[in-house]
Amino acid sequence: MKGPTLGGIRSVVKKEFREIRRDSRSLGFMIFLPAFLLLMFGFALTLDVKHIALAVVDGDGSQASRELVDQFSTTEYFDLKAVLPMTTAIDPLMAREDIGAALVIPPRFAEDLLAGRSPSVQVLLDGSNAMTGATAGGYIAAILQTYSQKITLETLARRGLGGLAAPVAAEVRVWYNPELRSSNFLIPGLIAFILMVIVTISTASSIVREKERGTMDQLRISSLGSPDLIIGKMIPYALISLGSAHLVLLLSQVLFGVGIKGSYPLLLLAMVLFVCGALGQGLFISSITRTQQVAFLLALLTSMLPTFILSGFIFPVRNMPAVVQAITYFVPARYFLAALRAIVLKDAGLAAVWPQILFLAAFALLALGGSAARMGRGEKEPRPRRGRARA
């Protein structure tokens, strides 16, 4: 096998670009799908749990109970949807998902408060979406605590004991993302997702396509060496996906104000390494499949799914059971995402992200080297199986 030649690579790149251009829709998707996803993530998709529909059963009907209800309905977390006469009315509303939480205030609530007995209220939560349920539980706990403190301080002030007020002042500060907007959290994940999916799927399918049509053999018997072919096939997709990632970065800066806080060269390094790994993965898939259908399913399974689930895109890695956490060590998106979030949102330098960069480099080497080795061997392999020729 001869080594790669510049002329050979250039002619394959040209051919591939021509093929991509001819299929303008695929090119459009590679560039605009990411932008489209960004718009959805920026405008529509948020993990912030707000405006939970709340039903109230006020068994007391006192000023104190109304005040408590106000504590809920004046926040943006809860919207008062229904005031119900009795608890049995809650059931059907919750079953139909009309409400996500219900607050039941017992009779004599105000009386108990005045007497200094600590009354309890009942809270019903729809747990079928665990995330919303848990968040709602947190809000409710915090609101009740604030209310309790307020009542206590009012009572003390009335009795002239105001000097005792509020023994602890907790100042809460949120770093990096002070408004707690989930788009800041999701956008780096989106970039990883885009790079991984576009690169892996398009590399795999563009090579398998030639195999399926039988044009791979034509290319092979031409004067091109196999490294030329492989490198030439990869370069266009690497360039397109990097371009598309930059478009996402630009749009997220312009539209959502998610600017790059850290160093751009470092970010670029992380992206290039990640893309190399994804290219290697795509190549590897193409070397073990014969039809585009299988290549597509395999690429989907090994790129989209781990990037979505095992990288910390949405689900925190530390919540996973140990075995699954062990698997995530082999998912490059995990490292890429950590590096990306640190660089973009936290202004972290090489000192903070070098382990991630190192791993990305290792994965890129492994994936590219492994698939190059397989492709090299695979030359002699395209045997028709058990004599059954293609129809």
Binding site: F29, D48, T152, N184, Q292
Partner: protein, 376 residues
């Protein structure tokens, strides 16, 4: 009928041609299910925290203990200097920091308000929101207890007591708030959708690409027979996969399947009207398999994201909530979650089933019309 069967037979033969396809068709749902079942966990527990206790008094230790015993936080490191916190948060080694400045204990003993600072890493906004809520609550609870002690000192027992309104929280349908119970029914929809859209669109386009479509057209098979024969295998594969996923969900993950299997089947069928319709539609507007792949992803992504697979529709802005009404996954996800987790019956799901079936009928007839036009 015989013509249809022969097409179905041909389709299966063709699917079997690539020996890697069938294992993949069944391996991938299992993998997805296992991964999502185990990994998709948004529960907020043991948030890694750094403690910076500059006071080192009994009061500060007691205050910190309140956080650590709550189960929401676990200590990763204790640091002496405030600046040392940066490294932990920057690298993501901790997502919360508790800072107790010097003099906290003295302030409390002297009746002055003690100041503390709680720092949260806002990048993981979901965890941070819950973490901030709970730390506020825990801090206030501690304050309340101190107040009680002081009151007792001032006026002895039996005077005014600080009130504490407690919530007795009952969680319905999913009392342990397991993310799994929310995610797995969604996975059923995800798998059905991805498999049927991908298989149907690519299968038909492949025939166009290979030029065998013309051969089929010149045979005496009528267009509707061809369409039914082409789509039927995917319906069967989809149903087998759905049954498979349901079995793994129920027996391995012990996700409740409270509703009736008949209704679940009906929901799957109504859903597949949509996905096969989209698959067929994609095949009519794509020339190559690569185009079909990208078009399929283009359809699938919004269906996953705007359909409420992970992100609840209620938290979307009104415009996108309206858009999601045109998205079949929305109805399917709501229905399948209702059927499995809430034990919903026909009265609770009919208003989801009807729009889903209507959408499906619309998409499918649109794509059939386009497909026939291409054939003629």
């Amino acid at each position: 009928m015989k013509a249809i069967l022969s097409i179905v037979h041909k389709e299966f033969l063709q699917l079997r041609r690539d020996r890697r396809l069938f294992p993949l068709l069944f391996l991938s749902p299992i993998l997805q299910l296992l991964l999502l079942g185990y990994a998709a966990n948004l529960d907020v527990r043991n948030i890694p925290a750094v403690v910076c206790d500059q006071d080192g008094s009994a009061a500060s230790r007691e205050f910190i203990a309140g956080f650590l015993n709550s189960g929401y936080f676990s200590v990763r490191a204790r640091v002496g200097r405030l600046e040392a916190i940066d490294a932990y948060l920057d690298r993501g080694l901790a997502s919360t920091a508790f800072v107790i400045p010097r003099g906290f204990g003295d302030d409390l003993a002297g009746g002055r308000p003690g100041k503390v600072m709680i720092i949260a890493d806002g990048v993981e906004s979901q965890t941070a929101t819950i973490g901030v809520n709970y730390s506020t609550m825990i801090a206030k609870r501690y304050a309340q207890r101190l107040l009680l002690e002081r009151l007792e000192r001032v006026q002895g027992r039996g005077g005014i007591r600080p009130v504490q309104v407690d919530a007795r929280v009952r969680v319905w349908y999913n009392p342990e708030l397991k993310s799994r119970n929310f995610m797995i029914p969604g996975v059923l929809g995800l798998i059905l959708m991805v498999m049927t859209i991908a298989l149907a669109s690519m299968g038909i386009v492949r025939e166009k690409e290979a030029g065998t479509m013309e051969q089929l057209i010149v045979t005496p098979i009528r267009p509707h027979q061809l369409i039914v024969g082409k789509l039927l295998p995917f319906v069967l594969i989809g149903l087998v996969e759905a049954a498979f996923v349901l079995a793994v969900a129920a027996f391995w993950f012990v996700v409740p399947v409270r509703g009736s299997l008949g209704l679940i089947l009906l929901a799957c069928l109504a859903f597949m009207l949509n996905t096969l319709g989209f698959g067929l539609l994609i095949s009519t507007i794509s020339r190559t398999q690569q185009q079909a792949i990208f078009t399929a992803i283009f359809f699938i992504m919004p269906m996953i994201l705007l359909g409420g697979f992970v992100i609840p529709i209620e938290s979307m802005p009104p415009f996108f909530q309206a858009v999601s009404r045109a998205i079949p996954t929305r109805y399917f996800f709501t229905m399948i979650r209702g059927l499995m987790i809430r034990g919903a019956g026909w009265p609770e799901i009919w208003d989801q089933m009807l729009p889903l079936a209507a959408l499906g009928a619309f998409v499918l007839s649109l794509s059939i019309a386009r497909f026939r036009k291409k054939l003629d």
